[in-house]
Every structure is written in structure tokens, then in C-alpha cells.
Amino acid sequence: MGVPYLPVVGLAGSDLAGRREDMRMAPDPFGGGFETIVVQALRPDVALFHGLRADRAGNVHFGYPSDNTLIAEASRRVIVTVEEVVDALSGEDRAGGFLPGILVDAVVPARHGAHPAACPGAYPVDDAHMIQYAESAASDEAFADYLRRTVFETADHQEYLDRFVPEGWGQAGQLPLREAGD
């Protein structure tokens, strides 16, 4: 997107709008005689995504329908991790869930890079891991311990894969779409 703000039909009189500096009431500048909430644009420094496949020109095929393109358009830098890098995306890969390379700054090959979340088309959510995550998130101590194990005391992506991704994960091939979009 990259525009400064957008009007929204909604949120007026809500505590959400009341508590946020980036949501204000504004009159229709075209003389329609009404007011709406306008929301200030988010301008992320960096956006991070995981997709199914990318090519050498930085074009990304997410593998599922997604509003990620909007986030990419709003962000200053875009980094995409992918299951695999190919020379050039096929025409089929460019249809749906496609992010053109012109919006992408860096592509990083990272097999199982979405784990423990899903990469639709490759593997599902790792429910067992997610349950552990949710339990850890219940207290600061448990969460610090979770981070220590999975992030700080894990040397690199390969060690993460070896220690935390189940054997043969996603090898069943194409999996049904799950939680498409959001």
C-alpha cells in the first residue's frame, strides 16, 4: 500500500479507536457530509514472510492465497524465507499468492522455515509443538525457557531442524490448504 492513511467504515465510538493515536475521526474531504475513522498507515521497517518457492529474481510463490502482498507494499524492507529456490517461477506459480521480486529485498532458502506454523502446500501446523508453545506462553519464566531451548541455545537453522522438526515432516507431499489467508 504505502499510502499515508485510509478511511474505515467502522470503529467509531469504540474504545479501540479512543485509545489509539493512529485512529481519528475525519470529515469526508469531498463534501459528502459525513465522517469516518481514518487510520494512519503502518510503515514497518522490515517485513518477514515464509513462502513455498522463490526464484533468482526474487519472485515469491507463497503457496496459498494471502494478503501478505499488502504488508510487503507497506514495508521498507522485505525478507522472504522459502522452502526452495528455483531458477524461474512457472506461470502457474505466478497465479495467486504471488509476490513480485520488485517488492522483495532478500530471499533466504530455509526448508521447514515456517515450523511450528504451517506452510500450506508443504506441511501443516505442528500441533504438538504449538501446544508446548501455548503452555510456555502462560508465564514469563516458561516462555523464557522456551526461547532459550528453541532460539538462544540453538546454533543455526540446521540444528533447529534436527532438534525440533519431526522426522519426515511434510514428506507426504501436497497437503490440503489450512487456515488460508489468515
Binding site: 465510538g13 479501540l16 492465497p65
Partner: protein, 248 residues
């Protein structure tokens, strides 16, 4: 004598009666009872109702952004939403509970879609599977979306009803308050007032809600249940909650 039904079935039937023929009606993700209500309407009085259910095969768009813009341009007739709290002024809360908004006692998902659709849909019907003083309150702890806004605010519609296992409350858009429209037998208006955290208005002459008809329950437990299972619309829920042992 009306056939007995579960609370979920009752709410599904009452929601289905809100659907109008030919209109676009929708519900959000993880909305099993509204999904059953929408399909029931299509199977009974509104065969040409257009239905949209986020997170199910009956979602025509690739992502919810397109649905939100459709609603904001005023094309959505009816939406079903639930909230943790609903108050007398038709405000609903799906954010948090607690006296201090900076220190919530419990946090909920928030109002990502609902905070917009409450204003954009022509009619929003709020449903709640619990009718209690903690759910129906004088004032919500957090306004996720407001029942009424000043006339200059662009808004295509707002809340029209609140449906619970005990009663149907009607929203008086002019006065901006909820009142008791009907009580579901065997519950009496007095009992409904007793279990509600705000004044429901004059209770004299409040009618009993017409009970689910045999035809409605038959359709809900037969073709609607079957369609949910076959098309993968909350199939497990439909199997467990519609009909069950009472299914013909």
C-alpha cells in the same frame, strides 16, 4: 406441543429466521451455530439467500480483505456476531474483561472484523450462548464496537437483536437501547430480567418466542446437518450437536 431441542439448536433456528430471501448474509470464522442458522434459512424460507461463511468452503474470496471491502461498501445485509459482553446500549465487547483497560483480567481475540462489520452490515444480530448478568451488562468493560454513533458518522447499519438461550432482545435504534422483545418458553419475562444485568424496559405484554417448528427442526437435523458434514462446514460439530439421538 413443541418438540424439545438443545440451546444450540434453538439459537440456530432463531438466527435462521433473521435471514431474508435474496439478501447476502454472513458469519465469521469459528461460528458453528450461525453457520447452521444460515444454512437452515436457505433450506427453509430463503432458498435464494446468498451465504458467506469465513473459514469454510462457503467463502468465495481468497482472503478476508475482500470480504471487508464488500461489507464497507454496504453490500452485506446481515451478519451474526458474538461477544463476551453486550450492554444496554448495544455496545459489544470482544477485547477484554476487567476494571482497568490497561491491566485486563482476561484478554479475548479483539474486534478485527467485528469492529468494522458492526457498522458496515445493514443488520447485525448478536448471539450469546450464555444468558447471565456477567454477559449482559449495564456497561461493557471495553467497547469493541458501538451500538449507536452520531448521525454524521458514516454507517450502513447496526445491531438489531441479541439472541440468547432465554430471550430475544430488540435494539431500539432511535432510543439506542436494548429491550425485551420475546422470552423463549419456559422462561418468563420476569426470569429473563432477573438474569440480565440491565433494565429491559416494560415487561408487560412481552410475548413468548414462537418455538422452533417441527419443519425447522427436521430441516436442521436432516438436510442442514448432512450438508455441513458432506461439505466440510464444521462437520464434527454438526455431527455432535445437531440431532444426535433425537435425529429421525
Amino acid at each position: 406441543m413443541a418438540e424439545s431441542c438443545t440451546g444450540s439448536e434453538l439459537i440456530a433456528v432463531l438466527l435462521s429466521r433473521e435471514v431474508r430471501e435474496g439478501e447476502l448474509s454472513a458469519c465469521g470464522a469459528l461460528s458453528m451455530i450461525p453457520a447452521a442458522g444460515l444454512l437452515l434459512a436457505q433450506a427453509t424460507h430463503a432458498p435464494k439467500a446468498e451465504l458467506l461463511m469465513l473459514g469454510t468452503p462457503l467463502m468465495p474470496f481468497a482472503t478476508s480483505r475482500q470480504f471487508h471491502f464488500l461489507a464497507m461498501r454496504g453490500d452485506l445485509g446481515l451478519f451474526f456476531v458474538s461477544g463476551v459482553q453486550i450492554d444496554r446500549r448495544g455496545n459489544y465487547n470482544l477485547h477484554m474483561l476487567g476494571e482497568d483497560q490497561d491491566k485486563p483480567r482476561v484478554r479475548f481475540p479483539g474486534g478485527y472484523g467485528g469492529g468494522m462489520i458492526y457498522y458496515a452490515a445493514r443488520r447485525t444480530v448478536v448471539f450469546r450462548t450464555e444468558h447471565s448478568r456477567r454477559a449482559l451488562v449495564e456497561q461493557v468493560d471495553f467497547i469493541s464496537a458501538a451500538g449507536r454513533t452520531p448521525p454524521e458518522v458514516l454507517r450502513h447499519g447496526g445491531p438489531t437483536k441479541v439472541i440468547t438461550p432465554m430471550a430475544t432482545l430488540g435494539f431500539d435504534a432511535k432510543a439506542g437501547v436494548l429491550g425485551l422483545e420475546s422470552a423463549h418458553p419456559p422462561h418468563t419475562p420476569g426470569e429473563v430480567q432477573e438474569r440480565t444485568g440491565f433494565h429491559l424496559g416494560d415487561l408487560s405484554g412481552v410475548p413468548a418466542t414462537p418455538a422452533p417448528t417441527e419443519a425447522e427442526l427436521k430441516a436442521l437435523r436432516g438436510p442442514v446437518r448432512l450438508r455441513m458434514i458432506e461439505e466440510g462446514i464444521y462437520a464434527e460439530w454438526a455431527r455432535a450437536n445437531l440431532g444426535g439421538e433425537t435425529a429421525a
